[in-house]
Structure formats: structure tokens, C-alpha cells
Symmetry: C2
Subunit: 138 residues, 2 copies
DNA sequence: CTCGATTTGATACATTATATCATTTCTCAG
DNA sequence: CTGAGAAATGATATAATGTATCAAATCGAG
């Protein structure tokens, strides 16, 4: 993992495993479960779930990967990297995912909802629905 | 389950299992995993996971139970029952949970974020953080 | 170089969730 | 009332997701 924790921000500070996992996610451009990622990176030498989960945790803390809690799945950040001001919309049928950036105004409005006695650390905002294509198909 | 599906809205249309599961959740007043619920209702005769998950699905569709995706856990609705306009804030340390009602203004703002080509079915909004008590303890 | 710390690898297991089929219960047409 | 079909529940088995723990390798400071 080299010197990542001295200045948590340069892509080339990613560990080899993080790079492999990130590339798998970027290739897919669809959300992948940790085990789907594992299958995908197995040829490159990663062979155990904790290795994948560790890489994902690292990438998530850098904002380069986001976890979709509604799907128990992961996606590469559409912007390369971003902080906590994002949301996701996805189609429950075809699993197409759209990353949504929250502008300051929206984000600040959200934060106002949080009770005063909780120090906010992480916001999860996910919209599930059916995309036009899947509605048409139905 | 009696006549529930003819007019999805009266509490006394709940199945016996739904009543048991709902009471377990209301007793706890903290989020419970499906398996914690199972342990809790086992004395009353429920003994298999699918039974609990089925009851939870029914209760959730009635808005009487909400699933916290961030915790893979369930809570009884603080209002008895409510539609999709709610959010949760919880402390990652002590797991205390607060249900937040979204007023129309907030909700409509959120909905505007959803891409036009997705027909929204479900919104997940969850805030994770540390409550004052747990911060003090740290 | 070598000690200690950090990262990675590996094993094993815990937790969460669901597919499937068998059984029971309910409904209602006759 | 009754029996056939539908709906709900029970039970079994297993799939999918996630983590604790320790061992081995690697790295960096002294």
C-alpha cells in the first residue's frame, strides 16, 4: 500500500490489489457484488474474500468506489473520486445505475434533517425504481 | 392472513406471524436483525428464517416496519405506519435509531434528483454518525 | 541487517437471505 | 356441507454476503 496513508489522495498510491479491484469495477460499469469482483480478479491472483473486501474498503474511503447498500454491491465512482455528496438511482430490473451529484444546496438541506445530537459521518441516498426501457418491456 | 390483500390497511388484518414479529420489534425499540427477531419469536412457534422474512416483507409493504439497509436490520415504524417519506439517523456505536419524517418540501426536493427515465418506487435515506453520548464516551 | 510495524494471504466461520417443495388452511362454487 | 383449488405457512436446504483471526511476507527505520 506504499505511502497512501501519508497523503490519501493520489491514484498511484493504490495498492496492487486496490488497482485490480478498481479496474474490475471500471470495466464492468455496472454494480458488482464483492464475490463477482472476486471471480473477476481471481486470474490476477486474488483468491479470498477478505482481500477483496479490504481493497474495497480502501477504495471506498478514498471515494473511488461507492457501495450501493440497496444492492449489496459496489460501483466505481463515476467521477473518478468524490466525497460523500452523491446519491444513486438504479433500476431494480436491469440494475442500470446512475450516480447523482448533490450540489451544496441539496446536500445542506439533507444535513438539516439530521438530529443535532448526532455527528453525521455518512449519508446514504438511494433511489430504486424501474427505468423506461424495463417498463416498456413489461 | 385473512383478508389483508383486499384492503391493505387495517392492523387487525395482520397474520399471526406478522403480529408476533411486529411485537418483537416494538418491544425492542432498537433495530433487530431478522435472526434476532427469529430468536425472539421462537417461543411463540416461529422457527425458520423464511417465516420471519415473509412477515417482515408483509409488514414492510404496509409501512409498519422499515428496513435499515445500512444495518441489515429492521425497526417498527415510529408512527405505527407510514409511506415512503421517511429517513433514519443512527449512531454507528450504540445503534440508537431515530426515524425522521420527510415533509413534502424535502421529499419533493429529493424526488427532483431522480433521472426522468426512472419511475421512482422506493427512496432510501440513511444518516450514520456518532451520537453525543458515544462521542463523550470515546 | 534486523527489529518491529504494516500489509497481505489464508483459513475458517458468522450472518443475512432465498429457492423450493410439502403441508395446512382458507374460500367459495356447487 | 363439502371438496377442489388457491393461498398461506412450515420446513429443508443452500446461496450470498461479510468478518474474525492468525500466519506469512514486506517494508522502513535505525
Amino acid at each position: 500500500m506504499a505511502t497512501k496513508h501519508q497523503h490519501d489522495h493520489a491514484e498511484d498510491d493504490l495498492s496492487a490489489n486496490e488497482v485490480r479491484v478498481l479496474e474490475a469495477l471500471r470495466d464492468s460499469k455496472e454494480p458488482m457484488s464483492a464475490y463477482a469482483i472476486l471471480d473477476r480478479v481471481r486470474p490476477s491472483g486474488i483468491s479470498h474474500p477478505p482481500t477483496v473486501y479490504r481493497a474495497l474498503a480502501g477504495l471506498e474511503s478514498l471515494g473511488m468506489v461507492h457501495r450501493l447498500k440497496s444492492l449489496s454491491a459496489f460501483v466505481a465512482c463515476g467521477h473518478g473520486r468524490c466525497g460523500g455528496r452523491f446519491a444513486f438511482a438504479f433500476c431494480r430490473q436491469c440494475q442500470r445505475v446512475e450516480e447523482i451529484s448533490l450540489d451544496d444546496e441539496h446536500y445542506d438541506d439533507l444535513v438539516k434533517l439530521v438530529p443535532k445530537d448526532i455527528h453525521l459521518e455518512q449519508t446514504t441516498l438511494e433511489f430504486a425504481g424501474l427505468c423506461s426501457a424495463c417498463q416498456a418491456a413489461a
